[in-house]
């Protein structure tokens, strides 16, 4: 049982990180010297459990599954007042994906010329919406599962980080608040996913180029920020066809836009986002006709820090994978979610979460398969994270 051993090894390694956490955290605190040099180490370990009343979501959830684990460790060094370098290693397991393979989640060299202009190079988290760049960081938000209408788990393998460069900055607008902006371009190397019993095995896949931006206006009202994000990416894949056709080439141009608003002040968080994604598919040879699909989705969310150790949160999320086809359970996903986040101490949180789902659009499988699955179902999540 190689997989089983690897799982145990990863968990033991992660546990040792957490046990060392208080010492490590203390060790980082007074590290800054008079010249701004500073090195910090941080990490986290998460373990979750998913159970659905019907249908399998992300994992074999109808039976209940604990294949929902994440661990990360990073080091960041401030070498001068303007120059910083960092690296984060990350491993996760979520059903069929992840499988505890340790990867460089991000690494970068960051030179901040001015407050209004900085440049980063390396493997960088993609700034899209309010939470894309922290969507795999459980401790940094209230819900265990972010709204899938904007942050679907299926994006996790290819829309979390890109390898390339980024310009960023923060510009004050006097009494008008401030602007925070990021613009990036690069590529997303991908690995061929495991495949069994598929008609056309994929032999290669990647995102040869991606470019995007995020612009947020921090309004004069404390805690209120409003903005938008846009991203373009090209996905290319090749598959093996039976002779005499030999090779199938698939190319997709994807354009995504998202509007965001967040109010985070005192103990209250309010957030809302709405976006559309346009995907243009082209196949060669044309066994499948070229197609263009526009999806749309959004959510509203609220969280309140009722006590230092308790933060309830709720959200409603809605997505149409094809905005022109709205009839049928397979073409829509409503998601009403409620979360209780318990901060047990400074390094440890537990989340209890329940979802009422209507529709099957977020489930795996072809539309005709999803059309016969139960339309109304529940999802329960228990997740705990330790971090330092």
């Amino acid at each position: 049982m190689v997989v089983g051993r690897r799982w145990v090894r990863s968990l033991l390694g992660a546990a040792s990180l957490v046990l060392a956490a208080p010492t490590a955290a203390r060790a980082t605190e007074p590290a800054a010297d008079a010249h701004g040099r500073d090195i910090q180490f941080h990490g986290f370990v998460s373990q979750g459990f998913l159970k659905t009343t019907a249908n399998d979501y992300l994992v074999d959830s109808s039976r209940g599954s604990s294949e929902f684990s994440e661990a990360g460790f990073n080091a960041t060094a401030q070498l001068t007042d303007k120059l910083r370098v960092g690296l984060q290693l990350f491993a996760f397991d979520l059903g069929a994906i992840g499988n505890f393979t340790v990867k460089a989640d991000w690494y970068y060299l960051d030179y901040r010329v001015r407050d209004w202009l900085g440049v980063r190079a390396g493997r960088l988290k993609i700034a899209y919406g309010l939470y894309n760049d922290v969507s795999d960081i459980d401790a940094a938000r209230a819900p265990a599962l972010l709204p899938s209408s904007v942050y679907p788990f299926t994006n996790r393998e290819y829309l979390l980080a890109q390898t390339g460069g980024e310009l960023y900055g923060y510009a004050r607008l006097g009494r008008g608040g401030a602007l925070e902006y990021r613009a990036y371009a690069g590529a997303v190397p991908l690995e061929v996913p495991p495949q069994t019993g598929v008609a056309v095995p994929i032999t290669g896949i990647g995102v040869p180029y991606i470019a995007g931006f995020r612009l947020m206006w921090e309004t004069p009202l404390d805690g209120l920020r409003i903005g938008g994000s846009g991203v373009y990416l090209r996905v290319e894949a090749t598959g093996m066809l039976p002779p005499p056709l030999a090779t199938l080439t698939a190319k997709a141009n994807e354009y995504a836009g998202l509007g965001s608003a967040e109010y985070a002040a005192h103990d209250l968080l309010l957030a809302a986002e709405y976006g559309q994604t346009r995907v243009e598919n082209h196949y060669n040879p044309m066994l499948v006709p070229d197609a263009t699909v526009v999806s749309e989705g959004g959510y509203v969310m609220s969280a309140y820090r009722a006590r230092p150790w308790l933060q309830p949160a709720v959200y409603y999320s809605l997505v149409y994978p094809n905005r022109n086809i709205r009839d049928g359970r397979e073409n829509v996903q409503h998601d009403v979610s409620g979360t209780l986040r318990f901060d047990i101490n400074e390094f440890w949180i537990v989340k209890l979460e329940a979802h009422y789902m209507r529709g099957t659009a977020s489930l795996a499988g072809a539309p005709q398969m999803r059309a016969v699955l139960p339309e109304n179902w529940g999802l329960f999540v228990l997740k705990t994270t330790a971090y330092f």
Binding site: T28, E29, P30, A31, A32, D33, A34, H35, G36, D38, Q40, H42, F44, G72, N74, T76, Q78, D81, R84, G86, Q88, W106, Y107, Y108, R112, R114, D115, L124, K125, D133, V134, I137, A139, A140, R141, Y170, R172, A178, E180, D222, G223, A264, A265, H266, D267, R305, R307, P308, W309, L310, Q311, L340, F342, D343, I344, N345, E346, V350, L352, Y387
Partner: protein
């Protein structure tokens, strides 16, 4: 009446956290102390606005108006002075600031200011570090550090 495993878990967590925070049997936590913002005596700045403090301690701005590097220093998360500073200057609880930094730390956008354990350590940091800014309780010994006004 039988209690579900879920309600037992919630009750256990609440009991654990209540005993940690001293709620229930212990007297309530003291009100957060007032604070003063301090810099080195050589710093030419005499006053800052609240927005500047927010940008400095969230590291959105990294230099003083004269171009000198800006180096904020924090107190521990459980410090009453930090609670007051966080509420008044940053307009969010310490937990909200920690969440902000968790997002930055784990997405590679930055790391928080260093934390030191006491007012005396803040004063020492401010006096020894060029461009430093910190906050101490209103009755702290300043050891020569300069108090700046907050508008």
């Amino acid at each position: 009446m039988l209690r579900s495993p879920l309600s037992l878990l919630i009750a256990g967590l609440v009991a654990a956290t209540s005993s940690r925070s001293g709620a229930g049997t212990a007297p309530p936590a003291p009100a957060p102390a007032a604070f003063r913002v301090i810099v080195a005596p050589s710093n030419r700045v005499d006053g800052v606005d609240r927005r500047f403090l927010l940008e400095a301690f969230l590291r959105k701005t990294t230099v003083w108006p004269d171009g000198q590097p800006l180096r904020p220093v924090d107190q521990p998360a459980d410090s009453p002075t930090r609670r007051r500073f966080s509420q008044d200057a940053l307009r969010r609880p310490v937990s909200g600031v920690k969440e902000y930094w968790l997002q930055a730390i784990f997405s590679g956008r930055g790391v928080p200011p260093p934390e030191v354990d006491s007012d005396a350590e803040v004063v020492k940091f401010v006096l020894q570090t060029a461009g430093a800014i910190g906050y101490v309780s209103s009755d702290a010994a300043l050891g020569g550090a300069k108090v700046v006004s907050v508008k």
